[in-house]
Structure formats: structure tokens, C-alpha cells
Amino acid sequence: MSNTNDPSNSSLIVDRRQLMAGAAALGLSASFAEPTFAADTPKKGGTLRLGMKGGSASDSLDPSTYADSIPIAYSLAIWNGLVEIDAKGNATGELLESWEAKPGAAEWIFNVRKGVHFTSGKEFDADDAIYSINYHRGETKSPAKGLLSAITEIKKLDSHKFQITLSGGNADLPFILADYHLIGLANGTKDFTKTDGTGHYTLEAWEPGVRILLKAKKGDYWKAGRGNFDTVEIRYIDDTAARTQALITGQVDAVNRLDPKTANLVAKNPAVSVVRTKGNGNRYAFVALRDTAPFDNYDVIQGLKYGIDRQKIVDNVFSGFATVGNDHLVAPTNKYFDASLPQRAYDPDKAAFHFKKAGMTGPFDLEVSPGAFDEAVDCAQLFQESLKKAGASLNVKRVSGDGYWSNVWLKSPFCAVYWGGRPTADDTLSTTFLSTAEWNDTHWKRPEFDKLVIAARAELDDAKRKHMYSDAQKMISDDGGMICFAVADYLDGYSKKLRGGEPHARYDLNDERIAEKGWFA
């Protein structure tokens, strides 16, 4: 473990570098940073070779199809996001430079950054920004459609200013616009075989499933200190062992998704560093439908929640590269995370008490599959073991991974699921736990919870808002049907020559922006 970046130490590095990058991005004078951090000054040049998992031969450049790491990475090299999330998880300006909410958070004014140009030479303006948002609204298959459903009107105010009106207040609108589907398109773009973006790189070779080759544009990037590489090559390396070997043998400079089981070994290599982002990776959970017997019984749910040995799963299945979950999905890195909520621990006696009260000890059927997540079956087996001590039995049913998301999830009364991190507390809670949510995979429907979350959404007073979200987390953690037992770490591997690979509050490989943020020492 000694070579693995300890998150508590590396957060210091993040702070100052991010400060610098942030200042530069905002067009402030970077001079105050230079003398102090001369060693950290980005250098130009070189070819960045990334070995990544999270894409396939069917990847497309159309932003309404993005669903995994590689498309996010290449889209942010060719285009720009509308809003960027910084290392601490705050929304900062990107193509939209600044914004302002009117009281009630239902009407927002956005200022489009001036002087940013497409490859074609045209300046990015309000029309482009409005088109980029509208591309994911209306008749579309874009996954971002649901996120944007609260938008009722987008009105252009002048060439670099527009107004968004929402059906209800939402203080998190900038975070919603930071969704990775929302990249700055040129007004009217429908054909994505020709790319015209504001990012620093242009597409040189497009071979989805094999590699994506990107070449830097001539001249300076509009973000100072970023876009340092001459060429960026994203290699699709699906096999984890192959990816790890490619990093160790120096055939690539950075990889994502290292195997927790071998991460410690990789970190021993002197030419390689492993960067660990704690508590923001995938959330692994078993979900029970709260309107289906026997899971409609509060005590059965309590019994199951106390009867799972979370720490054992984290230690054995994830080799320690995960944190225990507390049955709700809000990330510890989120500012509305309620740290005062006690972590539920394994307590067979309490579990036995609740099962007895419910008059049921199973066997409960749990459907799992590697198609839900690779470790699902192992986790379920440990769950089965730990429940035995509480006098209950679990019947682990292994089902096919093919079609898992359409045939099992949302349909089976008790099954495995993973949830990716979402940028805001509101987004996290509304997508999964609102009565009206399409993906309410626990069928947990509580009108008082709905009211609370919708009210918190429009609350501009931060203290009040924090209190409301804290209540919401308590409700889910106590009464909800989700047993979220582990939150994975992101494990990136970097060559020691590469700089800029800090942990990020959102995604791995520095929010999939290593091509933009990194440089060679």
C-alpha cells in the first residue's frame, strides 16, 4: 500500500494544482502561481497513449449515444463541456462562463464564454449553446433527456447570453449542464462523421473498438496550461490483464480501471503510480422491491440490512479498494453527504431480532449475475454466509448476464445492481428514489420524501438545503429497499512521467480529461 497514493495526502496536491488550473481557465493572471509551483508548470509536447476500458466497436461520436468512459474521454478532447466539474466537485465555467439564478431557482441566466472558436473558425455563441442543450430534448433517444425534462423554455437574450426557465426550482442546474452528454456543438450539427469542436484536438483516425487518434490544433488552446500533448491516442484494451501489462511494459502512459486484486502489485513497479479515488466509484447494491412480499415488511428489510457483513465484502471481494455503503447513494465527496448518519454495521443479533419480529427467516431469493457487475455473485455468497449467523437463509440464484438490465433489474423482487456516481445530491436521489422515477428499482414510494427532495431542489439557502438532504438520506437508509454495501474506488494507473493525474470528485482519469489536463514532465 505504501506506493499507492493515499487519498488524504494527494488531496493537497489536487488543491493547489486545481487552484492553478482554475485560475488559468478563468482567464485570471496565472503569475501568482508560477513562481511557487515552477516545477508543476505544464510542458508542451509528446504523445499521450491511453489504454482504456469502457467502450466498444459500436461507439459513435453522436453525444446522444455516449454511455461509457472512452466516449466521454474522446468527446472532451474534441469538444468542450458546457460546464466543468472541478476536482472538489463544484461546477465551474467552461463554455458557459458564468451564471446566475433568480430567486426560486426556476429562472437562470447563462453567459457564454467569448472568444472560443470551433475548428471551422466560427465563434461559439448562444445559438450553439442553446442547440447543444436542445439536441438532448424532444424527439431523441438521448439518455440526458430525463435530466433536462424540467426545462420549459430556453430563450436567447443576446449573442452570448441566454435564459433557461424550469418548471420548478432547481439550484443544481449548472451541475445538470455538466452532464457528459452535453458538449458544445455547432448550431445545427446532425452529421457527426465530420467533427467540428472547440476542444484542443481534432480527430485523426477513427477506429472505434481499436483506437482513437487525436491531433492537437495549431496555436494555443483557449484554456491556458491545458491541451499540452501533440497527439493523443486512446487504445481500447478491454482485458484488464492486458491493460495492466501495457502500462507496466510502457506501451501506454495511463490506464483506467485497474483490478483491485492486483493494484498493490502494480503500485510496486517503480515506473508506475496508482491513483486511488476513494468513495466515488460505482455503488454496489442489492435492491428489494418494497411493494412485493416479503420485502414490503419493514423488519425483513432491517434484518437484511443488519445481516450483511459489508466490511468483509469490501476486504475480500474488493481487496480493500472500496468503502462500505450506507444504503443510500449520496457520495461522501458530495457536500450534502450527511456524515452524522451512523454507518450501519454487521449485527447478526439485531438482524435476528428483526427477522423474528417479521416472523420470517427466508429463504429469500436473490437474483445475481456477473452481468450486473463482475463481483455480484461473490458478494451474494458472502451475504448468504453472514445471514446464516442471523438465522436467516438466502437463496442465491445466478441468472444470465445477457439482457440482465431489461429482464431482471426493475422486475425481480430482489436482485443486484450498480449505480454510477452522479454529480449532485438531487440528481442522485431523484433518479433512484422518487416515486415517479423511471428507475426506482426498490419501488419505494414515500410522498413525504418526494416533497422533501423537490423542496430541497429549489432551496437556495445552503444550510437549510443541507438539512433537508440529510433528512432524505436518513429516510432512505432506514426505510428504503436498497442495501448498498460497497462503493468502489476508482483505480487509475499512470506512468511516472505523466503529470496531471489527480483524483477527481466525479470520474476516473481526472474526470476523463487527462488528455486535456495532463502533460509530460
Binding site: 466497436a57 449515444t65 433517444k141 439518455p143 481499436v210 478491454d238 492486458a242 429482464n407 423511471e438
Partner: protein, 315 residues
């Protein structure tokens, strides 16, 4: 004999048609539907409906089959559902890569295993026979990914002679390609060598016990001459069949090796397509695979007829 060959060729065509029907039916009964697989966990009922209509999944199955088959006959394999690319354009370069790797492995494996097989037959029971048998049996007994990782560990991590990533790109020259794909080619060689070697050895040896071979020995010929001139021509048919079978395996059975070495072959394309329920791509890959398989086996049959002295000189 011509009639015999024509029958074989015709049978090959019939098999192809039957396979195409099977491919179509199988892709129809895959669990889950393409719309929800493509849009993933992020799909909502509304976006699903829009996408399904866009894909033409609302048409009846028999209509889609004949439409697909006639287009495929004209070389039009359709458009990928997931990224709207023309499938043939995506398939061809990958198919060429697969053929390149298969060819490379075959060039090493066939002379090696047939040669060793004949040698083993000549030297039956001698050390060369035993050693080649044991070695090839060992390599076929371990799974291919294990051989692959073993080769990577030794030749790229420890010795640094070959890259562990065998990805090839269009701009690469022939020798660079050869260099990059050496490890996967060696892995494949180890996989197919045992089968061919043992088949060659056995079929040569089984001929060796027939009366005319005994006659040749009685005439005073050396063992190697008897094997090469009298036994081998009659043993050729089963050898050709097993070589064809292994050639076909080199083309269609290399998905795991492709994954281990990150080689952009057709197998990886098909795996991706299955995961995403990209039916036209699955069908196209299936057609190509079955075409190779049926084609190679039919040519093996025809070749076996051509080289068989008894069939060549009919009474």
C-alpha cells in the same frame, strides 16, 4: 469424379443457406432487445420506443429475413444499429486482420505439425516421437489465455522482445505487423499443433499396417521411403481434413486470443455486437464465420477427393 465434386460444392451451398436461417433465428431469440441494450441502463420507456421504431424492429420476422438475405447476397450487409456505420466497411479490415493472424499462425503451424507428425510416424516410439507428442499435448491441455499470458510474461514483461499489445493499424508495414503479432501467432500455433500432429501421425501409421506397405518393405525399401511414397498419399485425406478444420478454427475460434492480445480481429467485433444486441453486425459476423467454415471444409473434401488415388483412378 466431377459429379462427386459438384455434389460437395452444392452441399456446401445448402449448408450455407441452412446456417443463414439458423443465424437469423438465433439472433431473434437472444434475450433482451437491441434498443434497451444499446441505450443501456440509461434507457427510459419513452426513448426505447423512439429507438425501436427507428430501427425497424416493428416489421415481421420473415420479411426482415428475406430482406436481409437478398441484400447479403448482393454484398450489402446493412448498417450497424448502434453507430449507423456501413457494416461491410467495418467488417472487412477486421476480417483481413483475422486472416492475417490466422495465415501467420498457419504458416508456422502446418509445416511444423505435419512435418513433425510424419517424422514421428517414421520414428515411431523413438525419442522424437515421444517428445513431440508430449509437448504438443501439454500446450493443447492448457487454456489459450493461459498460454497467451505465459508468453506475455516471458517474452514481453521479462525479456522485452515482443510487445504485449498486438494491435495493428492500417498504416503499419508488413514486417511491423509480423513483429507485433508474433506472440498471438505462437499462441495459436501451440493450440492447433497437437491436433494436426497426432492426426498426421495416426493416419500415416494406420496405413503402415496395410498389406501393400508390408509388400514395399519386403521389396527392401527404407522406412522413410515407404512412408513418403507409399503411405503418405493414401493418408493425405484425413490430414487435409484436419488441417482444414484447424485453419477454420484459426479464423473463427480466436476470440479469446484476440482479447488477451488486444488484436482488432472479427471475433472482438462480434463479441461487442452481441453485448450491444447489434443484430445486423452479429448476423454479418455469423455469415462470415460460417462462410469460412463451410468453405474450408468443402474445399478440404474436394481436395481429399482429388488426392485420393482410389478415387482418382476409378475402376
Amino acid at each position: 469424379m466431377l459429379k462427386l465434386i459438384a455434389t460437395r460444392a452444392l452441399l456446401g451451398l445448402v449448408t450455407m443457406f441452412a446456417v443463414s436461417v439458423l443465424i437469423f433465428i438465433c439472433t431473434q431469440i437472444l434475450p433482451g432487445d437491441v434498443a434497451s441494450a444499446v441505450l443501456g441502463q440509461g434507457a427510459t420507456a419513452e426513448t426505447l420506443a423512439v429507438f425501436r421504431k427507428e430501427l425497424g424492429l416493428d416489421q415481421p420476422a420473415y420479411y426482415r429475413f428475406f430482406d436481409w438475405m437478398f441484400k447479403a447476397l448482393r454484398g450489402d450487409l446493412g448498417i450497424s444499429l448502434t453507430n449507423q456505420h456501413v457494416i461491410i466497411d467495418e467488417l472487412l479490415p477486421r476480417f483481413q486482420n483475422t486472416l492475417f493472424l490466422a495465415g501467420y499462425a498457419a504458416v508456422i503451424a502446418i509445416p511444423l505439425s505435419v512435418g513433425l507428425g510424419i517424422l514421428a510416424a517414421i520414428r515411431e516410439g523413438r525419442p522424437i516421437d515421444r517428445i513431440s507428442n508430449i509437448l504438443t499435448l501439454m500446450t493443447i491441455s492448457v487454456p489459450e489465455f493461459f498460454i497467451g499470458y505465459l508468453l506475455i510474461m516471458v517474452f514481453s514483461v521479462q525479456l522485452g522482445w515482443f510487445p504485449s499489445l498486438s494491435t495493428v493499424f492500417p498504416e503499419m508495414g508488413f514486417f511491423e505487423r509480423l513483429y507485433n503479432t508474433t506472440l498471438p501467432a505462437l499462441t495459436l500455433t501451440m493450440l492447433v499443433a497437437a491436433h494436426m500432429l497426432r492426426m498426421t501421425r495416426t493416419s500415416v501409421l494406420s496405413i503402415m499396417s496395410s498389406p501393400y506397405i508390408e509388400m514395399a518393405f519386403l521389396k527392401g525399401m527404407t522406412r522413410s521411403r515407404v512412408v513418403a511414397h507409399h503411405a503418405l498419399p493414401n493418408a493425405a485425406a484425413p490430414i487435409i481434413t484436419v488441417v482444414a478444420l484447424n485453419l477454420a478454427y484459426l479464423v473463427v475460434g480466436v476470440v479469446v486470443v484476440e482479447a488477451v492480445f488486444t488484436y482488432p480481429g472479427i471475433g472482438q467485433l462480434m463479441v461487442d455486437a452481441v453485448a450491444k444486441r447489434d443484430v445486423p453486425v452479429i448476423q454479418a459476423c455469423g455469415l462470415v464465420f460460417s462462410g469460412v467454415f463451410v468453405g474450408l471444409n468443402t474445399s478440404a473434401d474436394i481436395l481429399a477427393i482429388l488426392v485420393n488415388p482410389r478415387l482418382r483412378h476409378r475402376r
